[in-house]
């Protein structure tokens, strides 16, 4: 429920607040649109705070925006490892600059007596939110490495969903807590923009680049009607119209989306039979998949042990996928002694399914961000984005009559019983067991 609120309710509330609030502030309260400068009262520390903060935040801002707007270009870039490393490094340094700058700004504001006159409680709210957000971002960048690779397919997919009015939480609901917090806090900050000094983001004076050096305002009609003056006026109007066109376009697209969706809702289906059939087929397929998944779940709820393969099926170099008791993908191999070796295949980085082929050094690799795991121990190789090992999965090896001839535990220990007979091993069957409550016979 809370997850629903944070990732669906909050975003829409935030977007509504930003659009309406910003419109109101820019039009009705134009006088207050700026970030009250305190350089006049204190200049030295501002330099060491404001400059690193703004340079850092702008780099990070662009770094978050480009993959959102130009996903293909971004994907092409981060394919190259040196570029990827460089981008990540720049982002990280920018983040650290932000933190340092912000800390200087906060300390400066607390300890300079003149500044207290121009400080509002909301300023501190902004400081705390921004600092937390940057720290969460840095932790994410450090613990879940290569965000520039994984975020476009996950967080951004979620974002597009929000903007397309079909929010899909599956992308984010299983994310680690830190990343979830980073996303939720982003919505909170967005929401506060029109009500705090953050409004100054919308007053970046880019029009300065295009304007004439001198600005003259006439009330005299004769002058007003003269061509040169008129031309200047028309020029500024052109910029204005371009801006208006941009905003109207964006607003138009958004409302079109909303209207179209609501239209469909009231109109009901308007498809021909063939199309409807394909749609139905798709839906059926999805339902079948869900049914299959549910049946597995049921099986696991009812049974203390589940058959997954004959021992002879298992190979040392290529794993066999199965689904473990937690409904995670897992892999079964045969080890050097001819016994089973069962490992979770859910990558401990961000949860992709790890590949089944073992390379020359006894490793399997996660295709998402290239974490290498040793299949013996499950430990990731140093330098992988994750540092958490893959878990072993508990199993029983049973003879045809059901006697247990060997077993493995989640910590990876393997033992054979007296009944074990290597000569009969081709007839043995591998079961996974509920780790809890099932003892080795």
């Amino acid at each position: 429920m809370i997850i629903q609120f944070l990732f669906i309710g909050l975003p829409y509330a935030a977007i509504a607040a930003v659009v309406i609030g910003t419109y109101y502030r820019l039009t009705r309260k134009e006088y207050t649109v700026s970030s009250l400068s305190s350089q006049f009262l204190e200049s030295t520390f501002l330099k060491w705070g404001s400059v690193p903060w703004h340079l850092g935040i702008l780099v990070i801002f662009i770094g978050h925006l480009v993959p959102f707007l130009l996903p293909d270009l971004w994907a092409d870039l981060v394919k190259h490892r040196p570029i990827l490393i460089a981008l990540e490094a720049v982002g990280f340094v920018a983040g650290v600059m932000c933190v340092l700058g912000l800390v200087v700004l906060i300390i400066r504001r607390i300890f300079t007596s003149t500044l207290q006159l121009v400080t509002k409680p909301l300023d501190f709210v902004v400081y705390v939110l921004l600092l937390s957000q940057i720290l969460l971002g840095l932790v994410t960048a450090y613990s879940y490495r290569y965000g520039s690779v994984w975020a476009p397919g996950t967080v951004y997919a979620y974002l597009y969903g929000i903007l397309r009015l079909s929010p899909d939480m599956t992308y984010v609901q299983d994310m680690p807590f830190v990343i979830q917090a980073h996303i939720a806090l982003a919505w909170v900050i967005l929401m506060l923009i029109p009500f705090t000094r953050l409004i100054h983001m919308f007053s970046i004076p880019l029009e300065y680049l295009f304007r004439l050096p001198q600005k003259v305002v006439w009330t005299n009609e004769v002058r007003w009607n003269r061509r040169s003056e008129r031309a200047q006026y028309m020029e500024s109007r052109r910029y204005f119209f371009r801006g208006v066109a941009g905003v109207t376009g964006a607003a138009g697209l958004l409302s079109f989306g909303v209207l179209e969706k609501s239209g469909h809702y009231f109109q009901g289906q308007t498809l021909d039979d063939a199309k409807e059939a394909t749609l139905l087929e798709k839906r059926l397929k999805r339902m079948k998949l869900t049914a299959e998944e549910k049946s597995y779940e049921l099986e696991r709820l009812k049974n203390d042990a589940i058959f997954i393969a004959d021992l002879k099926e298992l190979q040392p170099a290529t794993g066999k996928y199965f689904i473990d008791y937690e409904m995670r993908p897992a892999l079964a191999f045969r080890d050097a002694k001819g016994l089973p070796n069962l490992l979770s295949a859910k990558c401990t980085h961000l949860g992709c399914t790890v590949g089944k082929d073992v390379d020359g050094q006894g490793r399997i690799v996660c295709p998402c961000h290239v974490s290498y795991f040793d299949i013996g121990t499950g430990v990731p190789q140093a330098g992988s984005p994750t540092e958490i090992p893959l878990e072993h999965i508990a199993w029983h090896l049973r003879a045809t009559d059901g006697t247990i001839v060997a077993h493995g535990t989640p910590d990876g220990t393997v033992a054979t019983t007296a009944a074990y007979d290597a000569a009969k091993s081709e007839t043995y069957k591998v079961f996974i067991i509920k780790s809890k409550g099932v003892t080795v016979a």
């Binding site: 700026s34 305190s38 009262l41 204190e42 404001s50 004076p205 300065y208 006439w218 009330t219 003056e229």
Partner: protein, 498 residues
Amino acid sequence: MDVRSHVSMVFHLDKCIGCHTCSVACKNIWTDRQGAEYMWWNNVETKPGTGYPGKWEDQKKFKGGWKKDGDGLKLNSQNKSDYFFKLFYNPNQPTLEDYYEPWTYQYKDLFDAPAGDDQPTAIPVSQITGEYIDIKKGPNWDDDLSGSPEYAANDVNLDSLTPQERSQLLEIERLAMFYLPRICNHCANPSCVAACPSGAIYKRGEDGIVLVNQQTCRGWRACVTACPYKKVYYNWKTGKSEKCILCYPRLETGQAPACFHSCVGRIRYFGVLLYDADRVKEAMSVSEHHLVESQRRIFLDPFDPEVIAKAKANGITQEIIDAAQKSPVYKYVVKWKMALPLHVEYRTMPMLFYVPPLLPVLGKSTNDVYANSLDGTEFPAMLDNARIPLKYLASLFSAGNEETIREIMKKMLAVRAVKRSEQLHEELNEPTKRMVKETGLTPEEIQEIYHLTALSTFNERFVIPETRREQAIEEMVDPEFCKGNCGLGFNEMPPKIS
């Protein structure tokens, strides 16, 4: 030719007594508000001295004004290539320490203190924080302190002098000084307007007054840096910039600006000039020594029928043309060439002109006797041995061109000599006659200069064209819109105003 009319001013420095009445008049009307306590839209400095804000003329530090860039002009800083990076922190913006921390006294203590052995005192408190304050600096701290090593010696205009000239000037026995009242020059090529990233500062087309639109000002402070005269101020409370508005509400009702009206020494003259706006940029792009002359050449003769016709075609009213013909500024600046803009090398084309001071240049003491001799025998050696070197005046008023200053000094001497001989019924001696002739002034002109300098009436000093109310901005747009445009103060209550 694009004929425009422009407000313009002359300050006659020979007459300034340094009483600060102008500053106080302005303060009481416009800047007696929270956030504006430290602002002196009109201030009076002692020269040589560092002024207010301290060392404002040091453009290496403050980076104001224009510089030559090929054939054209470029802002010294805050131009299109560097403004963006200065938004977050402006390395050249003056801060409170460059001005001074404003204070008041706890006068109430004088009445409320409990009876005791000592007289109660009014303790100074900061007008910003309200805390007790140890006063170290004020807006006119260098008043009359010329020669003191802390102020006069740091005057950047002294850089042009040789060490010998410098030490002579600052020697206590030879100490010389004069006053320099300053307001916004309402420049015709203002760098503040050109620097404003939001386009909030503008010139009024009808009269050239430079105003900050409070509604659209975003407080980037680029104008504060860009104005080389440091005559745009940042209001720390409202987060907006403010500046001298030339008391336009008074002007529009036919009254002189408050600082002009209240001036005890009657040093201030107000009028309009007609100029050719098409040639401003070109005129401000010439080499330094020619700037004064090229600015003068832009001003148009208000009696010339062609100029009048073009002016009318541009919507300039008959009232303005009449005022331009009677303008005392036109006489001082264009006709007699006696008034010069301050620091014309900043290339903003200031519309405030100064008649340079003659007295401190002339006065001299020999054998402990102060002499202000005008028998003319000493001329022109008198100018070469002036107590304030002409070079110093040139650095202030003519971008270093001493010849320009010398010509004006000669004219002032000539007027004095002629009037003196008249009063004393003496014949002019030969060298003086020669000097008067060299100036090229006719006897009528000499009388006219004398009259305008010494005896002019209120209406001769302030020639303010009548405003056509039907063309005033409130008649053209919503009054609420005008409120934001007015140029100062609070458009809505800023947070936490106490």
